[in-house]
Each structure stands twice: as structure tokens, then as C-alpha cells.
């Protein structure tokens, strides 16, 4: 379960990596806020992803 939540957060962070620039392209936000959102998504990606990527799935089973 924990693994799925972490993966979900990682996917959201990935979406947050590209979405700000798309919003900037669409003229919905300015470049500065777009870059801060990208930085926030980057931080989330690098904090959350190492917690599950490349780690065995056994952990989850032990928690259960």
C-alpha cells in the first residue's frame, strides 16, 4: 500500500515537471511561477522516488 502511494506521488511529481511549462506555453502562467512549480516537483521526485524505485517489493508484504 505504502509503495502504491509513493509511486502515485512520483507520478504526480513527474506530471508536475512538465505541466508548468505546458501552462506557460498556453499562456496560463508566467515563467517565474512555472519554474518554481518545476523546482517543487523536482524536489518531490527526488525525495519520493528513491523510496521505492529499485527496491524489492517484499517490504510491502512485510508491512501487511
Amino acid at each position: 500500500m505504502t509503495r502504491i502511494i509513493l509511486q502515485l506521488l512520483s507520478w504526480l511529481a513527474l506530471a508536475g515537471t512538465i505541466l508548468p511549462s505546458v501552462l506557460y506555453l498556453a499562456g496560463r502562467i508566467e515563467l517565474d511561477p512555472s519554474n518554481w512549480l518545476l523546482l517543487a516537483a523536482t524536489i518531490v521526485w527526488f525525495i519520493v522516488t528513491p523510496l521505492w524505485m529499485g527496491r524489492p517489493k517484499v517490504e510491502d508484504e512485510l508491512v501487511i
Binding site: 511529481a13 513527474l14 515537471t17 512538465i18 508548468p20 511549462s21 505546458v22 506557460y24 506555453l25 499562456g27 515563467l31 517565474d32 512555472s34 519554474n35 518554481w36 518545476l38 523546482l39 516537483a41 523536482t42 521526485w45 527526488f46 522516488t49 528513491p50 524505485m53 529499485g54
Partner: protein, 556 residues
């Protein structure tokens, strides 16, 4: 560019075929190639296309075709041999060429890897420069500034630049020596994020172009017009650069990984593939890294060029000293684009002033704008962009140094891997301080492919043709020789022929000076981007001929 041809477990089964239980699925290859070909060097290569005056059609269609040819080369040449022999390139070469010739090959490979890693360190150092400037670091009360290298610089331009490169290089080297697995893990984690940041570079640059040119995009035709007229305008290259046409782009995209496909380095990778058609997995790397990433990076530099105008100094020089611009409107020049023609004219005037003694050589100020990945990425995506440049350079320089270290260690097996990697990293760092490699990366990458290409022809001919021609394949293994002269001479003579063709005019002039007129004067030679294609066929035929002679002689 691919910097590290190593999937997990590449160091296993070094001298035996990969067993069935160790084979990998298609997805492993898709992920690996997508990640590895989105490297720090892409941020340099994309802008260099723009500096070479490439047009939108030539770039886009050239990349589609060239990358397709690269994918086909992996699928039809490399993977079929790999899945039948299931051996590393080094072991395969040892069977064909003998241990001593493989040692020489390792040396060449290691040196090339070192220079490539050096270019990656250069790329990362440009980001360090921007970071230092923005942090507001001071030294003796003065703000620290790192002067960046310029487009046509060959040597380091300041102590601060050397310090930045060494800071980056030492970090990369120490980690490559002691913490390779840690960085390999960071590289895996960073790969999906890095691909999207590269995409974000292009998306942001597109918006910046739309705003700067006041363009309305209502259809794909509008987008194409913007690309043709403002982003990749074609025309003259920047001073000191070769003009890139459709053929240049196609051949560059095809051959930039020549060492890996035609040169057969990726036998080491595809020996793990269940089927040879897994070669198509390389399309992920080609169309993500060598299409999307190059175009995004190119757009960043194109936007920098679009936003750069001639300064007062250049305009004054043009109006005062150029007959062509004497009548030009000063304000129009100041607000107009800084075109290659203006830069060239300015440089010509400065050279004239130096010749007439009115200007000192060191006081020359006019030069082409420089594509610096750090500032370009920071301008588009802020701190995350800067982070992307550092991570992309670091995670790809790290395994490159490690691989170069392994190649050198094969030559000196008694020296520890850590010591060899540290020495290799130092060499790469020294190379990185010289901006010539990064600024001439298009040429260097073409050279890299050219140097290793003949051995790929040797492997292919040995595998498919020698037995059919009544000759022995894997001749070194069969005869016990440590240096197969047929393979060795094929390599040296092909390289010599390629160098003569690339440097044809200089060689022809030199021979003519000596009274030797054997080379026609009305031929210009072949540019380095194209020479590897005829070179490969030359190597293939030469290896057959030399094998016939050599095997007959040694059997007698």
C-alpha cells in the same frame, strides 16, 4: 549520445556466452536506451546544430532519417551477431584479433571515453558558473565570477574556469572510483525526470519565440512557419563553423553512435536480448535523446541568438569601417538581430585593424555567441534547469570515466581499479578544462565513430563472410596469435585512408610541395561527418584481402 553501454550485470559472463536464464526482456532495453541517450552532451549538440546554420527542414527530417538509420544499424547489424554469439565485444575481438590488438583497441576506446567525459564535465561546469554567480559568492570582498569559454575557444580562458572544471571533475572522479553504484542508482532515478526537463526546455523556448515574434499559432502550418523563419532559419553558419545541410544532420544522427552500432560496442548490451529484433528498442534513445532533446536544446540557443543584438561597439565599427554598412541605419542595426554576416564583417574589420597596428590582438572583442548549457537551461527552467545540466553531466560522465578506467585497467591489470579510475578521471578533468572538445563536439563525436568503426567491419566480416570464403574466422583463437595483423592493418590503413580523405587539401598541398603530384588537385576530400561510410566498406574489403594473404602466409 550514449556514454555508458552497460546494463545491469554487464560485468558478468565476460568470457562465456550469456546463459538463457540471464536474458532480459524488451522493456529493459527500451528504458536503458531512453535514459542513456538523454545525456549532458545533448545540451551541447543541439545548440551546435544552430551554430552550424541548420534549417528547420534539414534538422527535423535529417534527424528522423538519421536516427532511423541508426536504429536499423543496431537492429540489422549489431543485435543479430550479439544474439547468436552472446559474447562481449572485447571477448569477440580477442578471438578475432588476439590479446595484444585488443589491448590497443582498449587504449583507443579509453582515450575517446576520457575526452567524452571531459566534454560532459565542461557542460556541468557551465552550470556551476551560473550557480556561483547567483549564490553571490565573494572572494576578498569581490563577487566571484567565472568567465565562460567562447564558441571558438580552444584553451581555458581563466583560473576561475579551471577551478570550476576541477571542482566538478574531482567530484565526478571520486564518486566514479568509490561510489559507482550510488551514482548508477541516482542516474536511474533521475532519467525520467531528466527527459521531461529536456522537453520542458523546448516547450518554454517555443513560448518565448511566440512572444518575441508576436506570432499567433492556430495551426501546424503556423508552427512550421515559426520554425522556418525564426527558430531554425538556415543560412550562414556562425564564424568558425561548418555549414550543416540535410545530409550533415542525417549522417551525424546516424553516425554519432557509430562506435556502438556499426562499431559493434553494443554487442556487449544485446548479448542479453532474447531476440535480435530487440534492436528496435534503441528507437527510444534515438527519438527521445537525439530528436526531442537535441531540438529542445537547439531551441534554447536559437532563442538566445534571436534575443542578441549587435552592441554599440560592433555597430560603430561597421558604420565607420565597412563600406557595406556605411549607409546603414544605426538604430536598425542596434535593434536588429546579430546575424553571422554582421559578426563576420566585424571580425574582418578587427583583423584589419590589428594588421594595421590600430588595435591590439588582445583587444579584439567581436566573436560569435556561445552556446553555454548552464545559462541556457537556467534562462528557460530556472534552478531545476541548472540542476538538470549538473545531473545530466554528472550521471553520464561518471559511468564514462568508470568505463574508460576499465578499458585502461585491461592494459594494466595489476593496478587497482580505484587508482586507474582516479587517474582516468584526472585525465578527463584536464580535457574538460579545454573547451575545444565541448565546442567542437560535433567533430569529436564524428571522430570517435571513425576511430572505432573499422573494428566493427572486422567483426561483421569475420562473423558472416570469412568461412564462406574458405578462410578461418576467430583466427587469433584458432592460430594462437596475439596480434592478428590482418585485423590490425585493416584498422590502421582504414584510419589512415580516412584521415587522408578528411585532411585531403592539406595532404595534397604538402605532397605537391615535396614535388609529389599523385593526388588530384580538383578534389576537396570528404568531411569527417561522411567519411566513415566509405571507410566502413573499405575496411570490410581490406580485411577480406588481408586475411587471405595473412592466413595463407601463417599457415605455410
Amino acid at each position: 549520445m550514449a556514454e555508458d553501454p552497460s546494463p545491469a550485470g554487464v560485468d558478468e559472463f565476460e568470457r562465456e556466452p550469456v546463459p538463457r536464464r540471464a536474458l532480459l526482456g524488451f522493456k529493459s532495453f527500451v528504458g536503458m536506451y531512453a535514459g542513456e541517450h538523454c545525456a549532458g552532451t545533448e545540451l551541447m549538440l543541439g545548440p551546435l546544430f544552430v551554430a552550424a546554420g541548420v534549417s528547420a527542414f534539414d534538422l527535423i527530417v535529417g534527424l528522423v532519417v538519421g536516427n532511423l538509420l541508426a536504429v536499423l544499424s543496431w537492429t540489422l547489424l549489431t543485435a543479430p551477431i550479439a544474439t547468436r554469439t552472446r559474447l562481449t565485444l572485447y571477448y569477440q575481438l580477442e578471438k578475432i584479433c588476439g590479446r595484444n590488438l585488443v589491448t590497443l583497441y582498449n587504449l583507443a576506446n579509453g582515450v575517446m571515453f576520457c575526452f567524452l567525459a571531459g566534454a560532459m564535465i565542461t557542460v556541468s561546469a557551465t552550470a556551476v558558473g551560473v550557480a556561483v554567480e547567483n549564490i553571490g559568492l565573494t572572494w576578498n570582498g569581490n563577487p566571484v565570477q567565472i568567465p565562460m569559454p567562447e564558441l571558438n575557444d580552444d584553451y581555458p580562458n581563466s583560473v576561475a574556469w579551471v577551478v570550476a572544471v576541477f571542482a566538478m571533475g574531482v567530484m565526478v572522479t571520486v564518486v566514479a572510483a568509490y561510489g559507482y553504484n550510488f551514482v548508477a542508482r541516482v542516474a536511474n532515478i533521475a532519467a525520467p525526470w531528466m527527459v521531461l526537463v529536456f522537453l520542458a526546455f523546448g516547450v518554454v523556448a517555443l513560448r518565448q519565440f511566440i512572444d518575441a515574434t508576436d506570432t499567433r499559432i492556430n495551426s501546424p502550418a503556423d508552427l512550421w512557419r515559426l520554425a522556418e523563419t525564426h527558430i531554425w532559419k538556415g543560412g550562414e553558419p556562425l564564424p568558425g563553423r561548418v555549414k550543416f545541410t540535410f545530409w550533415h544532420v542525417t549522417f551525424f544522427a546516424w553516425f554519432c553512435n557509430m562506435a556502438m552500432h556499426v562499431g559493434m560496442s553494443d554487442l556487449t548490451i544485446f548479448r542479453y536480448a532474447r531476440h535480435s529484433w530487440y534492436g528496435v528498442a534503441t528507437a527510444s534513445g534515438m527519438y527521445v535523446g537525439h530528436f526531442m532533446a537535441w531540438m529542445s536544446a537547439a531551441m534554447l540557443f536559437a532563442y538566445q541568438l534571436h534575443e542578441t543584438h549587435p552592441d554599440e561597439y560592433l555597430v560603430n565599427l561597421l558604420i565607420t569601417d565597412s563600406a557595406q554598412y556605411a549607409e546603414a541605419d544605426r538604430d536598425s542595426l542596434l535593434t536588429g538581430p546579430l546575424t553571422p554576416e554582421l559578426i563576420r564583417e566585424g571580425m574582418r574589420i578587427e583583423n584589419q585593424l590589428v594588421e594595421s597596428g590600430q588595435l591590439m590582438e588582445d583587444d579584439k572583442r567581436i566573436g560569435p555567441p556561445t552556446p553555454l548549457p548552464g545559462p541556457l537551461a537556467y534562462g528557460a527552467c530556472g534552478i531545476a534547469g541548472l540542476l538538470c545540466v549538473i545531473v545530466a553531466g554528472w550521471t553520464t560522465a561518471n559511468p564514462t570515466i568508470y568505463r574508460a578506467g576499465l578499458a585502461f585497467q585491461a592494459i594494466m591489470p595489476r593496478v587497482s581499479r580505484v587508482k586507474v579510475t582516479l587517474a582516468t578521471g584526472l585525465l578527463a578533468t584536464i580535457a574538460g578544462a579545454f573547451p575545444a572538445i565541448a565546442m567542437k563536439l560535433l567533430e569529436f563525436v564524428a571522430l570517435y565513430g571513425m576511430v572505432l568503426m573499422p573494428m566493427g567491419a572486422v567483426v561483421l566480416v569475420d562473423f558472416y563472410f570469412l568461412r564462406r570464403l574458405g578462410l578461418a574466422s576467430n583466427y587469433a583463437e584458432q592460430s594462437g596469435t596475439r596480434f592478428n595483423w590482418a585485423a590490425g592493418l585493416t584498422w590502421f590503413l582504414t584510419l589512415a585512408a580516412c584521415v587522408v580523405l578528411v585532411k585531403y587539401t592539406a595532404v595534397q598541398a604538402f605532397l605537391a610541395d615535396q614535388g609529389i603530384n599523385i593526388l588530384p588537385a580538383d578534389f576537396d576530400g570528404i568531411q569527417i561527418y561522411f567519411v566513415s561510410l566509405p571507410g566502413w566498406f573499405f575496411a570490410a574489403v581490406l580485411y577480406i584481402v588481408l586475411s587471405k594473404l595473412y592466413q595463407r602466409k601463417t599457415s605455410q
